[in-house]
Each structure stands twice: as C-alpha cells, then as structure tokens.
C-alpha cells in the first residue's frame, strides 16, 4: 500500500525526512564539487572593506583592455578553472638599508593534487608621494623571501616596476611563474617583500589599521592538473 520510489524502488519518505535527506545530499554535493572534505572553519574573517575592494578589483581585472583573463577562460572551457583571492599576513620586513613590506600568503594543496597557475598578480596600494618636489615616479621592487629565512638576508628579486605616485593608486605585479614554482615546491607559505622607497619611506607599506581597504592581496586563476596533462608535460 505505501508508495514507492519509481526509480530506485525504496519506500517513499515523509515530507520532513525527504527535506532533511535532500539538504544532506545538497551539502555533500557542494563539498564534493569544491573538492572539500568538510566545510571550512572560518575563525578569522577578512575585513569587509578589504573583501569588497578585492572583489571589485577582481571583477575589473576581467574586463581590462588586454583581455588576458578572458582569453585564458576561452582556452580552458573543458577544464574547471577557478580564481583565488588571498590576503596577506603582513609584517614589516627589514630589507637591508630600506624598510620593506613583508607579505605571507598561505596555500595548501591537498596531497595528490597538482595545480596549474594560469595567471597571477599581486595587488599593492602605493600612497601618494609626500614630497611635491620629487619626480612623480619611483621604483617598486618585489622580492621572494626564503621560507623561514631571515628577511632581507636570503631574498631574490622577482620584479621591478616604475610607479606613478603623484596620487595614491593600486598597482599590479604579475607573479605567475613565482606562484607556480612555489606551488610545485609543496611549501605552505609564500613570502614576498615589497619596497617602494622614497627617501627611506616605503610608500607601499600600510599607513592605517590592518582592516583598511588597502590591504595587499594576490589574485590567481588556477586549474587542477589531471593525470593526463601531467603525463603530457613529462613527455614534452
């Protein structure tokens, strides 16, 4: 007499039981598709101002004139690529004679997973120059620090760029290769140092509290490498 499921033959569930079951199915489906074993435990929320800034920049990055991100998306229609925004843990480094901004980004790859970085940029806010008589440009440098090593003693120059500093602005530093090399090395913390030196002052260091909307962040477009593409890379 009791109705049965047409597809699987199991007895039909009550409405409440069905809803509970579907919620559990939905939760499990979301976790599986996001490659998560359990829901992330968020103990330390990113400040809302910083989050909104990053998401706005991420969106504007998709429609910027060189269309790089869009092209990469078209290339990887078959693969599921995704974007990561990572906020830095900030410490004031000591890059030798001049002060530097120390940034630490945390990434953890699950064992057996291999990630290919399609594109990655570091976003840094540089304050406007305090000296109106100086040239409106200054040199910004990004260094890679050895993990666990003393800052400033063991670091490699990743890139150098001229910045316009007649007014405060966001600047991007492409670090695709650096991030790929870091992920391939299976380390957990990517440590970078940034110097934008003007007469001993670092215009890239944060002026206000840590929850300012100018918190530096890293954006990466990545995708999971499957075994097939790994094989192709080895063969090549």
């Amino acid at each position: 007499g009791s109705p049965r499921c047409a597809s699987c033959g199991f007895p039909a569930l009550t409405k409440d039981a069905e809803e509970k079951l579907m919620i559990e199915v939905a939760k499990q489906q979301l976790l599986d598709k996001l490659h998560l074993k359990e829901r992330p435990n968020i103990t330390q929320a990113v400040p809302r101002a910083a989050l909104l800034t990053a998401l706005r920049k991420l969106h504007s990055g998709r429609v910027r004139p060189n269309r790089t991100l869009e092209q990469e998306n078209n290339l990887s229609k078959k693969d599921q690529s995704y974007e990561i925004v990572s906020f830095a843990d900030i410490h004031e480094g000591d890059g030798g004679a001049q002060a530097s901004l120390g940034l630490a980004f945390r990434f953890l790859q699950e064992s057996g997973q291999s990630i290919q970085v399609l594109q990655s940029s570091l976003w840094i806010y540089a304050r406007s120059s305090e000296n109106p008589h100086r040239a409106p440009h200054l040199t910004a440098q990004v260094f890679l620090s050895a993990d666990g090593g003393a800052s400033g003693l063991n670091r490699t120059l990743v890139m150098e760029k001229m910045l316009e500093v007649h007014k405060g602005n966001w600047h991007t530093f492409p670090i695709t290769r650096t991030l790929q090399a870091f992920l391939d090395s299976n380390q957990h913390q990517l440590r970078l140092e940034v110097t934008c030196d003007e007469d001993g002052k670092n215009l890239c260091s944060l002026d206000g509290p840590a929850d300012s909307p100018y918190q530096p962040f890293l954006v990466a477009q990545v995708r999971l490498r499957d075994n097939h593409s790994k094989h192709l890379v080895r063969k090549r």
Binding site: I23, L36, I42, A45, V46, L51, Q80, E83, F87, F107
Partner: protein, 114 residues
Amino acid sequence: SLRCGDDVTVCCKREFYIKFKDIQWHDWIIAPEGYHMNYCMGQCPQHLSGSPGIASSFHATIFSQLKVNGINTAVSSCCVPTERRPLSMVYFNSQHNIVKTDVPDMIVESCGCT
C-alpha cells in the same frame, strides 16, 4: 519539462532551494545566498521513455536498442535530469583564501525519462 505540482505524478522537476543562512554555511560561502539544487521525481510510463530531450545520451541509445530488440519489458525507465547548469560560487577555503569558481552541472534545469 514538467514542474512538479500536487497533481503531477509523471516525471517532473521539483524545485528545491537551500538558503545557506538556514544551514549555517553563510559564514564561508560569500555568494550566492543559496542553492537552487532542484531534483527529478515521478513515474516514467513506457510511452514516456526516451522523452524529452535525452535522445542524444548514451543511456537513451542503449534503451532504444533494447526496445528495438523487444527486450525492454524487464527494464524500467527512470526520471533523470536532462539539462543542468553551472553554479557560480565565491567562498572562503580552509586557508581563508577567497575562491571564485563556476561549478559545472549543479542546478537541474529539466527532467525527462530515460
């Protein structure tokens, strides 16, 4: 594709929405606010087998072969998703990084009989 109602017993799409706040997942999922999962349910009588819109699938081909060869009496047709669309998500991962991704095949758009 039919939408399930009180008087629909044949294969149909049941709307199912979960608000992340209701399951306390809104602390790590930034967007969207909920998930329109939806699912398929209902009877698939023989005359509805292979309809609608599943003719190109592997399973439909197998079922057609079984019908042609007259051995379909032992096989029952199932109500399954025939069309799905991706879900765009922005969330915090375990390292408190923000991830934006389009997860394929998450939302059931229509249902049909195999």
